[in-house]
């Protein structure tokens, strides 16, 4: 399908209804519309480009299998975000397991390639860098909460952490980011 297929004009609701009816072209239009944003989100949670690609692809396969069960087709975007959150959390849990048994080094924060950085404004880059400097657990919690919209209790449950720990991690992340942000001004 061409990126400018007439379907790219359709609302999320129309595309999701068609996908639920089994129309691959409509599903592809949804992937083009939200894939890049979901990937950017997954990169922020996971701090890794390769894993983010896998997570987004797995999430869309999952989405195709369950789109017919989606009660309100107008909330496609947040539904997709939630699917990506779940897949990303699976990765984090697996990583944590390895970290526990082998003192495994988590991959460093994803770096944008130089040509990508040219386009990004200074402030976006500064925020991206600030996020990258956060300890992994702080970054994970903060992105899941602020972007993924997950509740404290959900993050705690999914990552096997006490709620008080999640609150503490979020609080430290918030302070660090707010402080950095003040320096851009």
């Amino acid at each position: 399908m061409d990126a400018r297929s007439p379907l790219s004009d359709a609302s999320d609701g129309i595309l999701a209804s068609r996908a639920a009816d089994g129309d691959p072209a409509a599903f592809e239009a949804l992937m083009r519309r939200y894939g890049p944003m979901l990937r950017a989100y997954a990169v922020k949670v996971l701090g890794s480009n390769d894993e983010a690609d896998d997570v987004v692809q797995e999430s869309f396969i999952n989405a195709w299998n369950h789109v017919a069960e989606l009660a309100d087709v107008t909330v496609v975007r947040s539904w997709l975000m939630r699917l990506v959150s779940n897949k990303a959390i699976e990765r984090l849990r697996r990583r944590k397991y390895h970290r526990d048994i082998a003192d495994w080094d988590a991959p460093g924060p994803a770096r944008n390639t130089p040509e990508r950085q040219v386009e990004a404004s200074m402030q976006m880059r500064a925020l991206s860098d600030a996020l990258g400097r956060l300890p992994a657990e702080q970054r994970e919690c903060w992105v899941l909460k602020e972007v993924g919209g997950l509740a404290y209790a959900d993050i705690a449950e999914e990552l096997d952490l006490p709620v008080s720990t999640v609150r503490g991690l979020l609080s430290r992340a918030r302070r660090a980011l707010l402080k950095d942000m003040e320096e851009w001004r």
Binding site: G22, P36, A40, V56, W64, L127, R174, K179
Partner: protein, 213 residues
């Protein structure tokens, strides 16, 4: 307490945001303010809304949030130039048979041979016919009635989106006509009614919604 009173009125962003100390937030924590922001600042908390320190922190939290989304959008926009390999990967891994639906019998010249088409393929036929009407995009398609029994009355229910500026009544009428003609030509369904509900209006963009404003 006396110290705090001295500072009230001339508390600046640097002081508030440097330590994010509850001292400058009139006893509120940043976490509490973040939750308050999440709730859309509703119900209104006058204690927070009347505290200069809290307002500075709320403003900063709000800016951090919009900057985060702007950052993701910017990164997503850069990403759009990437190749379509990932889309192909997904499309290769999804099962199209899952949505085939019911089997619809069609007459065979050989009485020993049972021929059917899938409900999914008839939906596809309806989508193709409806989409062929200028300015129309078909949404959901339903075939109501027992399609597995030849001759049973079947009603077709279709939702659609019409392009902005088009007469929607006329659009629905045209869609009904082409869908009916297509079903008569390609199936043996006893279609008793075709309902087209225009539930959305879309604009014709030169590019898709993906391109950020």
């Amino acid at each position: 307490m006396a110290m705090r009173d001295d500072q009230e009125g001339d508390v600046g962003p640097e002081e508030v945001l440097d330590g994010l100390d509850p001292e400058f937030l009139d006893g509120h924590s940043v976490e509490e303010l973040s939750d308050y922001l999440d709730s859309g600042r509703s119900p209104r908390n006058p204690d927070i809304e009347n505290s200069p320190g809290c307002l500075i922190a709320l403003d900063a939290l709000g800016r951090l949030r919009s900057a985060t989304w702007a950052m993701l959008e910017a990164e997503a926009a850069e990403d759009r130039g990437r190749d379509d390999k990932w889309i192909k990967n997904v499309m290769d891994n999804i099962s199209r048979e899952a949505r085939a639906g019911r089997d619809i019998p069609i007459t065979s010249v050989d009485p020993e041979v049972r021929l059917t088409v899938t409900e999914g393929s008839v939906r596809g036929l309806i989508r193709a016919a409806g989409d062929g009407v200028g300015g129309a995009i078909v949404g959901r398609v339903r075939l109501d009635g027992d399609v597995t029994v030849p001759g049973e009355p079947i009603s077709i229910d279709v939702t659609a989106s019409g392009v902005f500026g088009r007469n929607l009544l006329e659009l629905a009428r045209e869609m009904r006509a082409v869908i009916g003609a297509s079903l008569r030509e390609h199936t043996e369904l006893n279609v008793t009614s075709i309902d087209v509900t225009i539930q959305d209006v879309h604009t014709q963009r030169t590019a898709s919604t993906e391109v950020p404003r």
